[in-house]
Symmetry: C2
Subunit: 406 residues, 2 copies
Amino acid sequence: MTIQSRMKNLSPKSQSAKRVRPVRSSRAKTSAFARRLLNAWRDLQLPFLQTTVVVAVSGGADSTTLLLALDELIAAREMQIHLIVAHLDHGLRPQSKADAEWVAKLAGKLGHQTRIGRVNVGKRAKTTRDNLEQAARQARYEFLLKTARTANAELILTAHTLDDQAETILLRLLRGAGAEGLTGIDPVRPLVTQTVSLRERLSGRDLAEPNSAHHSTSSDLLLARPLLTWARRAETEAYCRLRKIDYRSDPMNDDEHFARVRVRKQLLPLMASFNGKVVEALARTAELLRDDLSVLNQQAGLLLLEATAGHKGETKVPSLNVSVLADAPAAVRRRALRQWLSQGRGDLRRIELLHIVGIEKLLLGDKGGRVAELPGGARVVRKQKRLELIVKRRPNSAGEQSENVR
Amino acid sequence: MTIQSRMKNLSPKSQSAKRVRPVRSSRAKTSAFARRLLNAWRDLQLPFLQTTVVVAVSGGADSTTLLLALDELIAAREMQIHLIVAHLDHGLRPQSKADAEWVAKLAGKLGHQTRIGRVNVGKRAKTTRDNLEQAARQARYEFLLKTARTANAELILTAHTLDDQAETILLRLLRGAGAEGLTGIDPVRPLVTQTVSLRERLSGRDLAEPNSAHHSTSSDLLLARPLLTWARRAETEAYCRLRKIDYRSDPMNDDEHFARVRVRKQLLPLMASFNGKVVEALARTAELLRDDLSVLNQQAGLLLLEATAGHKGETKVPSLNVSVLADAPAAVRRRALRQWLSQGRGDLRRIELLHIVGIEKLLLGDKGGRVAELPGGARVVRKQKRLELIVKRRPNSAGEQSENVR
């Protein structure tokens, strides 16, 4: 893993002054876990100095470990960052208030600032018609984003582990996902908080978004998971025991009504009987596919730029040239269409392969006037030699997919 | 599935006269299974007229069904092809001779030619140091190829089903494969039987090989799996019962010492408890990744062409420009290196990601004289600004990977 991420960029990169690691204090004695976190931090090119970092802490073993290990590195002067511990009380379980108090107390004891939020996820889910898991994830994301904005932070951390990555990949695989799904959770990605025009986006360094592993410098806020590429859940639990911290347990993590819990408790153990390193193997697959995607998304961006040439009219996003799209390989055309929809709708929520295939059907033949309906009220119309996207509702203000934020 | 494969090529394609389907006889009454086979045949653009086709028949439910359904379609004049039934007796089980006789008898009764081969796989495995499964697959492939050459056939068929595809994808996933592995078995691919020069290959339509879903016209022999994209194993068994054919059973198919059997009997049933259509979902993933790969391999071909510019010297394949490779995205560079190795060595057997990463390390820095050793005695040498491939042994005469042939 380390070799691969180090090998990826073979051209030397200039490092900003902020990213140079401070000289390690010789007095500090850091744990093996914290030293591995430090390596991952460096691999992800996260900032070492004079920066405010929001760390999401639920109180479970993973996030408690992330907080404690960061605290170790700060104490050892391996990094000079200002931590803000963020916890959202979802109000879904009787014990949730106690969890929030536990996190606040731990953070206080360590001497870090705390932000506790409270939300009624049940009520929210009814309004947005999302399921509870989706609504909770969306609420967490908004809370973290707001916390980061208020504190002028440039980095948000979540404590996803290698196990979370493997579970996510398998859940996607069970649904028949393509490469995007199988890359699982991104180790680091920019949080795009304002909608930019298609041409602006295509002309800049954002070409490879939204799936590039390499974060763009044009975003001022990053979401990173510094445990994702290496830490096993058993290791975070062991670390908490080592530190004598009695982390909180969420009973939903044992509830086999959730597919994710069954993946964890049934599917992964069976797969481990074939290959004891299956979790690492799945993560390697995800990393290889992420490399592939950065190339394909860049190609798709170029195709989209080519297809928008000759646009006239008043639609929010430029119309597309039918024959440019029809001549492109399916793998590139479909991603170009997704980028176009993402710009026009604000996100890709509920857009499935069948919708993309529906748009592709409009490319066949010469007849105009045909329509492909999309979830949420948008529609794509074939007008002679061009495709137009008609969006009714306002796009999501954050311009951000809710996926992968917990 | 059908929509997707129909949508893939949106530009109209010229069909050769040979591929036009003959008018269906109104008297014929074909089974639903045979009609679905006919649809798949059309989707894969396989020839309908005046062609000799070698069909591999082990005597199991899948291959017996393929033979019988093809026979139905020939009898119904849906296709006018000349079948040669090929069976290789691997000599691994006491019943294998009886299997061969059973296949010969069935083929004779149907009025098709039969070619029975015999091989000592155990002895062969000792010589080649492959395991039994690999040696058997390689022996089958060679037998089918020889049979096709002798009969002047342009098509070889195997009876891999959707279940075989799902099992293959999962076995690859368990090893942490990249996109190449996860595309599983190719529905159709050319059998490249002679080594062409790198430049010849790059300049022609073979650019997207070896993983393109679209077969190249430059090869005169195709390997196709017309059951792969749609037929479930349970359907082939049902079809045999319908035709009152008591197909042969291979006890190795129930031997849980084989990982493939455990995938079939344990892993897939557990995954089906999450998604009853998991086999279809895995096949969809494979199809999406195959589309991605055809683009990436084409990019890799272009990169390789660019990297060979400025070559001087006497190596079998041109040397490569270090900085051209170093500047390319990892996903394209690694595939370009694989194509280069495949040309120089004749195949990619035993080449793993770690070997490619080893070659990538030679791209770092300015120092020449460094070497990356490869399995089978080949080595890559950094000489100043270029990489040279030094091959000791003669490449495999067939120039063909043994994967996916059973």
